[in-house]
Symmetry: C2
Subunit: 372 residues, 2 copies
DNA sequence: TTATCATGGTATAACGTTCTACCATTTGTC
DNA sequence: GACAAATGGTAGAACGTTATACCATGATAA
């Protein structure tokens, strides 16, 4: 929509509730005017007992229409909002679910969060996200914080090398937890993850079928289990075709790190004609690096990403990648944690979702001279 | 780092705590073995009173070293974590701060979150992020949720057209709140925002000095105040130079929307030689659109973004933009909300941070024939 | 009439902490 | 040896809800 406007300031009026002047107000009025309303206040104001007010607010029990309306009206008038701490403490349940994940900024994670949030919302739960650090001791504190605040459930991407004590903590406190991506074998916890090995195997097979013989793996750091699986899928496929050795290059999970890693690798391993990446971000970085070196992704060197984030399709050139749908993954996470909350004794579930090869423009047959 | 490895599965051992078999366990033992530990449990086990245990856990009062150690040891042994609901209800304070923001996936927002989280963490607070929707009624519920769960403070990007009642709610419940980006004039609330008008004025002036005469504004939707200010800075600058009329094009805040908006505008307003954008994402989209049309950003048409997200520098070509440092903005937000919590009666603060022009490669003098 | 039963409401004890006030000891002081 | 003061600890109420058990009514049935 194209418009020609002469913009003007947007003016907004606030109703100006007079702030109570404490000095001039007699005691008996003061409370009513300024104190944060509690159930007692509502009950007194409506002329009923606290118990009745409570029942009305929750819509339980047998209350006549007349009193119900009376109570609701005064509650609204006083801006009453129940104190969740007290309610949850007494009733023993909460409607708040925690999500501990590192790197919120990562678009893949962001889309997962979105999926979780929407599903939980539709079920009447509230999601609060913790921008975790991928660090075991720090993480322990954050898990404790979740326990302290009595979340109804927890969705958790465990840090690398999470010690067993952290899992014990969750068990002691009976916190319904689903692990995501990492630690699929944590005993007693639900898990949702990705078929990592199968995915990279698929990607590698595809590259081999295109004619590539010298294929590297790029991205990820240290001995994260997820990455180890992806590397396994990649290297086992190489081995099955009598190719090798596997070439694995570390890189942090951002574009710049991907660029430098790719640049360094091309220098030290000039024979490589194709790269399987640990994630789209790194893959896009690698693609940028090629461009800066005057090479054309998909023709000079092939690149396969992982995740299929939104930018994968918009990159130049558009990125071939292993697609998992992060939003749907998020919804699934939400579903599982709710099921767990509702049936705490059900046997733990384990679900690994497949990743599909999406061919775009960063892959192609190797240049004729390459494998000569 | 390039390594040749023969990958193997990472094996992890979990200590297998025997899950108590409820059927076989006599009553008096059952509680001790399986029940979630509370202060009472710790106290009993350590042979002290609940009050003493409480003091030890909080490090207050006068407790001998001997008992302190005894209590701490049993607390650790039992995996005790205090119940924050009870603690907070009684003591009246909480260490948890809420952040309600829409579009977590937006890299600008993600970096802000990171800044807030780090600062709060260093002050011993926990940040929980809510993936809000930019919608007034939905938002109201989310604010209520924050009040219900008694957060110590709140950082909030108000939705468009937030009704006055929502502000009243915050006031009634005395929730220390700092608004971010929008609603700088909400009475009694701290605010941190950006000098939007000045920034777009700067961008527009720069384009005019380069020789452009036909400049459009691209991005944003509806009458969001932030965008209105940016449009004001842009159009006032045009007017001051005797240029006009202002051309304003709507677009949602993602790359694809930016692409289509740019494409449509170029069709309907062929004379335009430069574009000031409402955000980097849209600007990058616009840049992509130009490329698809066979035009070169910075030479055929100039583009200025807003935000300076990480991708701005990495885009092809690198994006000229108005830089605000989202991470630092986040830290500032954290600081302000903590100050507010510590001094509830202090006068509300208002701080608008400037944006700096960062010239990269999407801007340049107009093509010779353009303004002829 | 009296027993029975809905109906609508209330009193009160939890929930797991922290805070206030208080009670024993021991130590120090004259 | 008596008093004050310091030391180390405890009992019990309170925070704002919800759950349980109970109590009035008036209506229905025998």
């Amino acid at each position: 929509m194209v418009t020609r406007i002469s913009p003007q300031n947007l003016i907004k009026r606030y109703t100006c509730h007079s702030v109570a002047k404490l000095d001039e107000t007699p005691d008996h009025q003061r409370e009513q005017m300024t104190e944060k309303p509690k159930l007692q206040t509502v009950a007194r104001e409506a002329g009923v007992s606290v118990a009745t007010a409570s029942q009305v607010m929750r819509g339980t029990g047998r209350i006549s229409d007349k009193t119900r309306k009376k109570v609701l009206k005064t509650a609204k008038k006083l801006n009453y909002v129940p104190d969740g701490r007290a309610a949850s403490m007494r009733s023993g349940d909460s409607r708040e679910i925690g999500l501990a994940i590192h790197q919120i900024a990562n678009p893949f994670n962001a889309e997962v969060i979105s999926g979780v949030s929407d599903l939980l919302d539709s079920e009447g739960y509230l999601l609060s996200v913790l921008d975790a650090r991928d660090d075991a001791t720090h993480q322990r504190k954050q898990i404790e914080a979740f326990i302290r605040s009595s979340r109804a459930g927890l969705i958790w991407v465990p840090a690398q090398n999470t010690p067993a004590e952290t899992f014990d903590l969750l068990k002691t406190h009976r916190l319904p937890t689903v692990t995501f991506l990492r630690e699929p074998d944590a005993p007693g916890l639900d898990h949702i993850g990705i078929e990592n090995a199968k995915a990279t195997a698929k990607a590698t097979t595809y590259l081999i079928e295109l004619g590539h013989r010298n294929i590297a793996f790029l991205g990820g750091t240290a001995r994260v289990a997820v990455r180890a699986e992806r590397i396994r899928g990649y290297s086992e496929t190489l081995a099955r075709h009598g190719l090798g050795p596997a070439i694995v290059v570390d890189s942090a999970d951002d574009k710049i790190a991907g660029m430098t890693a790719m640049t360094e690798m091309m220098a030290s391993q000039p024979g490589v004609t194709a790269v399987v990446c640990n994630g789209d971000i790194v893959a896009i970085g690698a693609s940028l690096a090629l461009a800066r070196m005057g090479l054309l992704p998909g023709s000079d060197v092939s690149i396969v990403g992982f995740d299929d984030i939104q930018d994968a399709a918009l990159a130049t050139p558009p990125l071939t990648t292993m697609a998992v749908s992060p939003y749907q993954l998020g919804q699934k996470l939400g579903r599982v944690v709710i099921d767990r909350i509702r049936a705490p004794e059900a046997p733990p579930s384990l679900s690994l979702v497949p990743a599909d090869l999406v061919v775009r423009e960063t892959t192609g047959a190797p240049a004729a001279h390459a494998n000569a």
